[in-house]
Symmetry: C2
């Protein structure tokens, strides 16, 4: 048995039937926060992501990133002996997590209603592309399809460019984080009610809940929101700007900051130009304003402006590559780059006082690494004489 | 007092000092799941977002979207009388949430250590741009700056285009969702330990935890990940494609699906072309493959291909506008478009059996709407004779 990290969920046993990305991301958070997570894998090659690149030291990073700290056992859920072990696990578990297409668990005889009969305290978490209900419940769902259908692509990118995918599997990961949130909520409720529940998360719902400003604009006007590039829809200057050798983000929330910015870039008269006199004027002339600011900014490096504009009290930040971000002293100071089984990966962003937030964590398991031990631990034993008498 | 919705947190009282977007999004989830949330606003105009557009019926949608179901009271936390009311609330609360710049609460005398003395069971949640610790703790943070510094912008967009902001305030919203997750975890732990905790969430950490594939590539190769547009880095065809009148997303995870796709678009010989014979070949020739597929796809409408390709068993989805997404029958079937105080907005994506998921919810409060009632409820009364005797 993997020694679980000390954490708020250190008394919790999770039976993890999730695979690929969305479910495993959610159960990894439970593991990070101390739960014991037993990953059940299919006979053959196990979780598909074990065969996905990129690889390091012959290990799939895709699999490693979202399965750290878990135990692995191969169970054939269509085999009677393995089903008995599985049901014995369920009887003792606090959480069961799955992200099959809706209907698969029911066909195996493992719907929420089936398993709640065995263990009424079970929190049963399902995550899927469109959820367990509704006309699209069975529609094939991949992150790219959900990003396309949720509207997020239609508002990411530039007015003269194509709709743009967010450069990460946003919908998958949001599904996983919401699955974790639902499980934590249901575990809290169980302390009061004594009963488990079925948590039903949809990647589509999850992405809709993140639409924000574009959705507000639609509700306000009834018009279809369009892509506006990197700028803020209602504040200016609040955008990404080009310098001599790269980009910076500058955010002026009021006239005072705008005045300070104009002075810092050596163009103080911009602040008194009637086209830029207040935020409304600046939004109405946002393209001209950007040109005017970039005319100054392009004369020096991003590093120069980061110091100069920051010292003027104006919010500014560098545009960092992923590599620079994760290696940043701030990320290191907060254990956001950890070592799990010898592989560098993102740490746990949920920092709670009183618990360790280790920089070194257990890695992802080899396929069936804990199989023998788990088959013994959860073996179905004939009732003992004592058991029969009681 | 607003009647809270039935939900897993219906016994929980939240004192909400959060403002603008990130904290309020987190406490709205608590409210959606049944908690009573008392929003404390500053004298004057209250939460800044009350003055942010867009507006509908004279109400800020920005404020309304992330403050539904809450109560509002104006308290001046520098005034002795109001401080006494506030501390009386804290003494009775389960959760305190704040997203000031680190140090502000301590200067008011309301650090975690200060308030834990009054109420050791308090779960005290802080969310900020870079967290409570580390060299950037006090660095000014807006969503655009965090998106720039986290690396997500550097990998969103096209190889020949500019770094691209995700078309929503991703870092703000992720900070809020992680804040909720941390609070739910700490409330669960309190049931075991009897003690509260300090939850410390950073928008920067939150965004780093969502980097996924680009970060894997960096860990695997040490090279700086670049923008690759809408395609999947390791699978093809897995991208957004242009039709005669718009775009569709098509995801082929294996050769079998690719063969079905080629047949459906009327170009079956593509599947036997050596350049596209397996996934590795297709990734190596991904640009040519896209051209070849789009040559066929551009001959018909997106609607035509959605039917034809879906019927061939290949995962495909339409590229929807935000308006089409939120009005989709699937969103309606799952209560993802609700009415809160007469305003349409996204519903709660955390569906848990045994609780209502109402389509009509209480709206956001007017400034100080519950001020008089709350000042009475939490008034500091002189000890009664009975109280003194006990």
């Amino acid at each position: 048995m993997v020694k679980s990290c000390h954490g708020p969920f250190s008394d919790i046993l999770v039976i993890d039937l999730t695979h690929v990305l969305n479910g495993p991301f959610g159960t990894t958070i439970l593991s990070d926060l101390g739960a014991r997570v037993i990953k059940i894998e299919t006979p053959g090659h196990g979780d598909d992501t074990r065969t996905y690149g990129p690889y390091l030291h012959d290990k799939s990073l895709y699999f490693s990133f979202v399965n750290r700290g878990k135990e692995s056992v191969i169970l054939n859920l269509k085999d009677d002996g393995d089903r008995a072990i599985f049901l014995n696990m369920v009887a003792q578990a606090d959480v069961l997590a799955e992200n099959f297409r809706p209907g698969v668990m029911a066909r195996l005889g493992f719907s929420y209603d089936d398993l709640a009969k065995i263990n009424p305290r079970l929190v049963y978490a399902s995550s899927s592309g469109f959820g367990q209900t509704g006309p699209l419940a069975l529609y094939p769902a991949y992150d790219t399809i959900i990003q396309a259908m949720s509207g997020i692509m239609s508002v990411t990118g530039f007015p003269d460019g194509a709709p743009t995918r967010v450069g990460t599997s946003l919908s998958d990961l949001l599904g996983g984080l919401y699955m974790f949130s639902g499980v934590a909520s249901a575990l809290y409720a169980r302390e009061k009610t004594g009963k488990g529940a079925h948590v039903d998360i949809s990647m589509f719902d999850a992405t809709l809940s993140f639409l924000e400003q574009s959705l507000m604009d639609y509700v306000a006007t009834g018009e279809v929101p369009r892509r506006i590039g990197n700028r803020h829809p209602d504040m200016a200057p609040f955008d990404v700007f080009e310098c001599a050798d790269g980009h910076v983000a500058i955010c002026c929330g009021n006239d005072h900051l705008f005045k300070a910015l104009c002075k810092a870039v050596g163009n103080p008269q911009l602040a008194t130009d009637p086209r830029f006199i207040d935020n409304t004027a600046r939004i109405n002339n946002v393209a001209v304003l950007k040109q005017a600011l970039e005319a100054s900014l392009k004369r020096q490096t991003a590093a120069y402006w980061l110091t100069t504009i920051h010292n003027a009290g104006v919010p500014i930040g560098p545009l960092l590559h992923v590599s620079e971000a994760i290696e940043h002293p701030q990320a290191k100071a907060r254990n956001m780059l950890i070592d799990a089984g010898g592989i560098k990966m993102p740490g746990n962003p949920i920092k709670i006082s009183g618990y360790l937030d280790p920089m070194v964590r257990a890695g992802a398991p080899e396929l069936d690494q804990h199989g023998a031990a788990l088959r013994t631990e959860f073996a179905v034993r004939p009732l003992s004489a004592a058991g029969r008498r009681s």
